[in-house]
């Protein structure tokens, strides 16, 4: 038996390193995905992609870490900026000496102009529609960028901040590697530089020593791609991960909070779940049927279902905290009124409506709960669950009477109102985005607000737009669901995390382990 004992000892010694010990200068983050996607900030709009790429790139301006309040926007690559009173011309003065990763030189106005033009081009950017008001972008001198707009927009700073099309790339890197090469080796100016990405396994960033705010205290961030919720939780529990994205449900919060030395933080932006009602399809072309649906929905019950720490009732057709959001008069839960409205509309025995819905568990569960609520008002909601990519295609083909869509956007009312409720965004038109209801009742207010330089008047227009959309019941807002993250309390993010627009807590140059 001696050989057997020796083998057992050898195996025990060999296996010992498997229980990984935390490296105090390397942060390991667990993402809920098997891939990051294309590594181009102007093309990648996925949650894991944005969470990863935000560390590589800067914007001209930024939201303070942990905040998503547009009123708090602060300098990033631009140290200051000014706009003309008519809001048409904006001048940004860049910091000097900002270095691109991997020796691609100093970031100058030429890089900023190149980035903005690239982000505005349909061929190279997902976010080109954010730049439709841009007339000219030019470098006044080596450190000054001027943007001229065709018409004023309410969110110019939102367009050039460290989010979506606002990420600044280094021109020399794109020109040297080409767009295809750049998409595999992104080069920016952020606190961490790209090293490698192995699909299904990890993406790795290292500290950018010449980062303009100072050399990062963490030497490395590894984004582990762990699509299984259970495996991610177990890896966090075993110490193989320092920070993880959580599941949006109360049981996950309750269970994770019980782990010793762990912080669990629900953060903004909330994804607001909205049921869009196609106003061109019978019986939903009758406002009384849409009102009946709105009365039949019980938001409080949905919040109880999803969990109080992770969700809250919607207040309007624009999520809470967005610039210009107001509490709109949503129809209250009232089953008798719902049945009465159906009878008035000629459906005394009820109606049947159909929805194509994604099979993603979180979204399907909410829709099934709504289905149960509607049934009590004699409204039969027939759900056809389809795989997620199919769902996205079919709802854009106008194949669903009812569309349940959950989304977070740049926190300015204009974006949400335009994408979901302006007639330009109606599905199956060349400029379509996500207007599934065919709503067109507030076009005038949305357009007027966009070119209105006076903040008070703009807010009034946005208020009217929201009230009109609610009154016409283009959609029924349900609940807002927060993002959940957990990390070890030995990790000091360096700021108070209340929100993260890129849907993952930004890791700063000051972020560190305390032990």
């Amino acid at each position: 038996m001696a050989w057997w004992k020796a083998a057992a000892v050898a195996a025990a010694v060999a296996l010992a390193p498997a229980a990984a010990s935390a490296q105090q200068t390397a942060l390991r983050i667990g993402m809920a995905s098997a891939g990051i996607g294309v590594l181009d900030p102007h093309l990648n709009s996925s949650t894991p992609g944005r969470g990863f790429l935000q560390h590589i790139f800067n914007g001209l301006v930024r939201l303070p870490p942990g905040s998503m309040n547009p009123a708090e926007i602060e300098p990033d690559l631009a140290e200051r900026w000014e706009g003309t009173p008519d809001g048409l011309t904006w001048t940004f003065h860049l910091r000097r000496g900002v270095q691109c990763h991997h020796g691609f030189g100093e970031f100058t106005a030429e890089d900023a102009v190149f980035s903005l033009r690239r982000a505005a081009a349909r061929e190279t950017s997902t976010f080109s529609s954010d730049f439709v008001a841009f007339d000219r972008v030019e470098a006044v001198d080596r450190y000054t960028v001027r943007i001229t707009l065709r018409n004023p927009i309410p969110s110019l700073l939102g367009v050039v901040m460290d989010y979506a099309g606002g990420f600044m790339v280094c021109r020399a890197a794109v020109e040297q590697m080409g767009n295809e090469g750049f998409r595999r080796r992104p080069i920016g100016t952020g606190p961490f530089a790209f090293v490698e990405y192995v699909p299904q396994q990890f993406g790795r960033l290292v500290a950018h020593e010449q980062y303009f705010r100072g050399s990062p205290r963490l030497r490395e961030i590894v984004f582990r791609l762990v699509p299984s919720d259970a495996a991610r939780d177990l890896a966090f529990q075993s110490g193989e991960l320092d920070m993880i994205i959580g599941r949006q449900d109360q049981t996950w919060i309750d269970r994770t909070r019980q782990l010793p030395g762990v912080r669990v933080v629900p953060m903004q932006p909330a994804e607001m779940g909205v049921v869009h009602l196609n106003m061109t399809m019978p019986p939903l072309n009758d406002i009384r049927v849409r009102q009946a649906i709105a009365h039949a929905v019980n938001r409080e019950q949905l919040v109880q279902f999803r969990g109080r720490d992770v969700s809250t009732t919607a207040q309007s057709v624009v999520p809470r905290g967005y610039l210009g959001q107001v509490e709109a008069p949503l129809l209250p839960h009232d089953l008798n009124r719902a049945r009465q409205l159906l009878a008035e509309a000629g459906h005394p025995t009820g109606v049947t409506i159909r929805a194509i819905n994604t099979t993603l568990p979180g979204m399907l569960a909410v829709m099934e709960a709504v289905q149960a609520q509607l049934r009590r008002a004699n409204i039969t909601l027939e759900i056809t669950p389809v795989e997620h990519a199919t769902f996205h295609q079919q709802i854009r083909q106008n194949l669903s009477q009812v569309v349940y869509f959950s989304a977070a956007r740049l926190p300015v009312a204009d974006i949400y109102l335009t994408q979901f409720f302006h007639s330009r965004s109606i599905v199956q038109t060349p400029t379509a985005v996500t207007n599934f209801s065919h709503c067109r009742v507030a076009d005038a207010e949305i357009d007027a607000a966009r070119s209105e330089p006076d903040q008070a008047r703009r807010d009034a227009l946005w208020r009217t737009a929201q009230e009109k959309i609610v009154a016409h019941v283009c959609a029924v807002p349900l609940i807002e669901q927060l993002q959940l993250w957990a990390w070890r309390d030995t990790l000091d993010l360096g700021y108070d995390l209340r929100a993260a627009l890129n849907l993952a807590p930004p890791i700063l140059h000051t972020t560190r382990f305390t032990r």
């Binding site: 195996a11 060999a14 296996l15 010992a16 390193p17 498997a18 229980a19 990984a20 098997a34 891939g35 996607g37 294309v38 590594l39 093309l43 990648n44 709009s45 996925s46 349909r122 061929e123 997902t126 976010f127 529609s129 979506a164 295809e180 998409r183 595999r184 192995v198 699909p199 299904q200 396994q201 990890f202 582990r224 791609l225 762990v226 699509p227 299984s228 259970a230 495996a231 177990l234 890896a235 075993s238 193989e240 389809v386 795989e387 997620h388 990519a389 199919t390 996205h392 295609q393 079919q394 854009r396 989304a407 956007r409 965004s425 199956q428 060349p430 400029t431 379509a432 985005v433 996500t434």
Partner: protein, 312 residues
């Protein structure tokens, strides 16, 4: 023998072409637009159309098909529509993970399944037989993701013998620790299959005249079972191993997800979710190729296991 191999290779080429053609058209018939997936839910219809043009998806299907076939003949599988990385590179980067997991599962499955099957057959309708049959039934009906999580909770969280994320391979020790749990998870399922097939094959063989003759001649029972009976029962066992090996490569996706291992199964599911046509095409070729090779090896193994089998 060489004629047999040549015929099988020719047949394999036709099969490959048929699979390529089927996959090419099927992935395009399935609803879902790769351009939409790449650009996300804020993209305008115009931007999606521009992306389709950039990806070459707006060209006539026939043009895309012949370009794809011509590329395949030259060994060029194109680049992933989603990541922009060469398909061959992506597939080759995960192939070793799949091969090592499949082979390890096969070894565990055979090492457990064959002796258990023989043991159950020899003790037919006794307590041992019932226990083995029940265990194999459990192995077949237990979902891989449940057994995977149970293994993780016990061996990774409680005992800390192995990592939760099976991607470490810095040393022989970490490689072994990373491979052990996923291999056991898949291997147990395979063992359940092999046990059942071995048992039934052995029961048939043990009732043959030559077994009774051998026993009558005084050959020790152990030798009768392991040398004479088992050798003759190997053909159905090899068949099931060969068939299941092909299935295993594709079906290992649950194990790959739970243990967070890279692999072909996970790559296929990811490519399907993202409608990554080029990736799916490349993967299907590899998968078909592997299944064909496994089947060929299975046929060759018949000859090795039973000299009466002539390969023509």
């Amino acid at each position: 023998m060489s004629t047999f191999v040549a015929r099988r290779v020719a047949f394999a080429l036709v099969t490959l072409w048929a699979v390529l053609t089927l996959v090419f058209f099927i992935v395009r018939v399935v609803p879902g637009d790769p351009a939409q997936v790449i650009l996300g839910d804020q993209a305008t219809a115009d931007a999606i159309a521009a992306m389709r043009t950039r990806l070459g998806l707006d060209r006539p299907l026939a043009v895309q098909y012949f370009e794809f076939l011509w590329g395949a003949l030259r060994g060029d599988w194109g680049v992933s529509l989603v990541t922009g990385r060469p398909v061959v590179q992506e597939v080759l980067s995960v192939l070793p993970w799949t091969i090592e997991l499949t082979l390890a599962a096969l070894v565990i499955g055979a090492a457990l399944g064959i002796p258990l099957g023989v043991w159950a057959a020899v003790n037919r309708n006794r307590f041992t037989d019932y226990v083995v049959r029940l265990a194999s039934l459990l192995g077949l009906s237990f979902p891989a993701f449940v057994s995977g999580i149970l293994l993780l909770i016990f061996f990774s969280i409680q005992l800390r013998w192995a990592p939760v994320m099976s991607t470490q391979r810095d040393s022989l020790g970490t490689w072994f620790a990373s491979l052990a749990l996923p291999a056991v998870n898949l291997g147990l399922i395979m063992a359940a299959y092999i046990t059942r097939v071995t048992r039934s094959a052995m029961l048939e063989v043990l009732s043959e005249d030559y077994v009774r003759t051998a026993r009558a001649k005084g050959v020790p029972w152990r030798l009768v079972v392991w040398r004479h009976a088992l050798r003759n029962a190997l053909i159905p066992i090899i068949t099931i191993v060969g068939l299941y090996l092909g299935v295993l490569i594709g079906n290992s996706v649950l194990t790959e997800i739970v243990f967070n291992r890279p692999g072909l199964g996970k790559l296929i599911v990811g490519a399907l979710n993202q409608r990554d046509y080029t990736m799916l095409q490349g993967m299907m070729v590899i998968y078909t190729f592997v299944v064909i090779v496994v089947n060929l090896l299975t046929d060759l193994a018949y000859g090795a296991a039973d000299p009466r089998v002539k390969l023509k």
